[in-house]
């Protein structure tokens, strides 16, 4: 199967990007040095193509109630213009995807889902919304998503729009004109930095990218690929679906039980199981390697004393900010003593730390 290009494919190619198949999409992995891209986002700003993400609209007088039933969050309580991080679960409580839901209007919500999952999410939403006066419309094909992330992102975006960016809070969205194009400006991200995500129609993606690149040229803005995005989110302790989140795990297993609103009105899919869920037997922790070899996805976490397997690494990478390899891992809740990661047969010592690894000032 050939990976699908985003509207920005030719821009990436002209920048010399290494392209990779990610969840069926042909995406930029990196443009040059991924560490330099990572650093640009921490110190100045980075420009990302996230057009592979899904945008599913839920509209109608009962759109909020439909989402309350379909998702674990209390979306009907969301104010217009605000956004919420939430999840969609199966009847057995397993996570089908993690989502950001924007309330665009009283009777209009936009659900942003991961590239690999949005067809499943759209189908589940359509089915779960049936009893409600609400329409589910998967409009992922129409939209491109460009993110500007990093401490200088507001300065860059402000050159291209009259929108009140100072008044735009974290996890809020504002329809506005950016570089002549109609956009939804969202103050959200997946990097641990301040930043914006701009939803635009496909046809506006290339001119918007060029306008942002030019606006940021003298402010240290760099195009950044999925490789940098992954190390940025890992440092920020943010879960990735397929790694920290899977259909085998509940939100509680992932330490994200706060997104489950058991006391919201009415029933929701997964409630019966989630409300009776026992204490998780494993917990998600941060690991910092003492050596230079990198713990990676799927490697075993072992107790140093006896080599007993006590967990598994979900994500790992060399951290450009810490200068050491870092990882997230599920380990047995009661485990004590020194831990190590089995890196191709050798037990490399690690320290267990609180997440996130990195927090912006």
């Amino acid at each position: 199967m050939t990976a699908r290009p985003t509207p920005l494919r030719e821009v990436h190619e002209s920048l010399g990007a290494t392209l990779t198949d990610f969840a069926g999409w042909l995406m930029p992995l990196r443009y040059g040095s991924e560490s330099a891209e990572h650093k640009a986002v921490r110190e100045a700003a980075g420009l990302f193509d996230l057009s592979h993400m899904g945008e599913i609209f839920v509209t109608g007088p009962q759109a909020g109630e439909a989402l309350d039933h379909a998702l674990v969050g209390h979306l009907s309580a969301l104010n217009v213009g605000r956004a919420r991080y939430t999840m969609i679960c199966a009847e057995d409580g397993g996570v089908l995807d993690d989502l950001i839901v924007y309330r665009l209007d009283e009777a209009e919500f936009m659900v942003v889902a991961n590239a690999a999952n949005y067809p499943v999410v759209a189908a589940a939403l359509a089915e779960r919304a049936l009893p409600y006066d609400a329409v589910v419309d998967d409009r992922s094909e129409e939209f491109a998503l460009i993110a500007v992330q990093g401490p200088r992102s507001q300065e860059i975006l402000a050159k291209l729009t009259d929108a009140d960016l100072d008044g735009l809070k974290y996890y809020a969205g504002l329809p506005a004109v950016v570089a002549g194009a109609d956009a939804l400006i969202a103050r959200t991200g997946y990097t641990g930095e301040d930043g914006f995500e701009l939803f635009v129609k496909n046809a506006d993606a290339v001119p918007l990218w060029h306008a942002l690149a030019e606006a940021g040229a003298d402010l240290g803005l760099k195009a950044a690929g999925l490789s940098a995005r992954d190390t940025l989110r890992l440092e920020a302790g943010m879960p990735l679906y397929g790694n920290e989140l899977t259909s085998e795990l509940t939100p509680y297993d992932a330490g994200l039980g706060r997104v489950v609103k058991l006391d919201k009105p009415g029933d929701f899919v997964g409630k019966a199981v989630l409300s009776a869920a026992p204490e998780p037997t494993r917990k998600l922790v941060g690991l910092v390697a003492r050596g230079r070899r990198v713990p990676r996805h799927g490697y075993s976490v072992v107790r140093q004393a006896d080599g007993e397997v006590v967990g598994v690494v979900t994500s790992g990478a060399p951290s450009p900010t810490l200068g050491k390899p870092i990882a997230m891992a599920y380990v047995d809740a009661g485990v004590t003593g020194e831990l190590a990661v089995d890196i191709r047969g050798s037990h490399e010592p690690v320290d267990v730390v609180d997440l996130p690894f990195y927090k912006k000032n």
Binding site: S33, S227, R292
Partner: protein, 126 residues
């Protein structure tokens, strides 16, 4: 992608320079495919290596790869600069980013010339 004409190559993307004592490194193509190299593990001086057998590893942000010895012989020298600063593999793969030297004890087998190596990488260029 740079492929110096005076070097020999392997299908595992190592380059080889010299005759009796050869210098070994990884190609610019390999370094580019790996991305930023963050860790290099090399054999120790005095170790015996065999052609086509793994003798070290190179780790980047996204992946880890074995380093294969292109020839059979004894390690005479390893480059301490690359263990201190693995990014030399990205910035100067054919120069300061060399990995180790081997005193060759068996006639090298199927090494590729620059043209043959160029053909090999063309097919997989993304």
């Amino acid at each position: 992608m740079t492929i110096p004409s005076e070097l020999s190559y392997t299908a595992e993307h190592e380059w080889v320079r010299g005759e009796d004592v050869v210098t070994v490194g990884i190609t610019a193509y390999a370094a580019d495919q790996l991305g930023d190299v963050v860790f290099v593990q090399l054999p120790e001086a005095g170790a015996e290596v065999s052609a086509g057998e793994p003798c070290g590893e190179v780790e980047s942000t996204k992946s880890v790869s074995d380093v294969y010895s292109p020839v059979t012989g004894e390690i005479t020298d390893v480059n301490p600069a690359v263990t201190d600063d693995p990014s030399l593999l990205n910035s100067d793969p054919y120069g300061e980013g060399w990995l180790f030297k081997v005193r060759v004890t068996e006639e090298p087998g199927d090494l590729l010339d620059a043209d043959a190596y160029a053909k090999l990488t063309e097919g997989s260029e993304s």
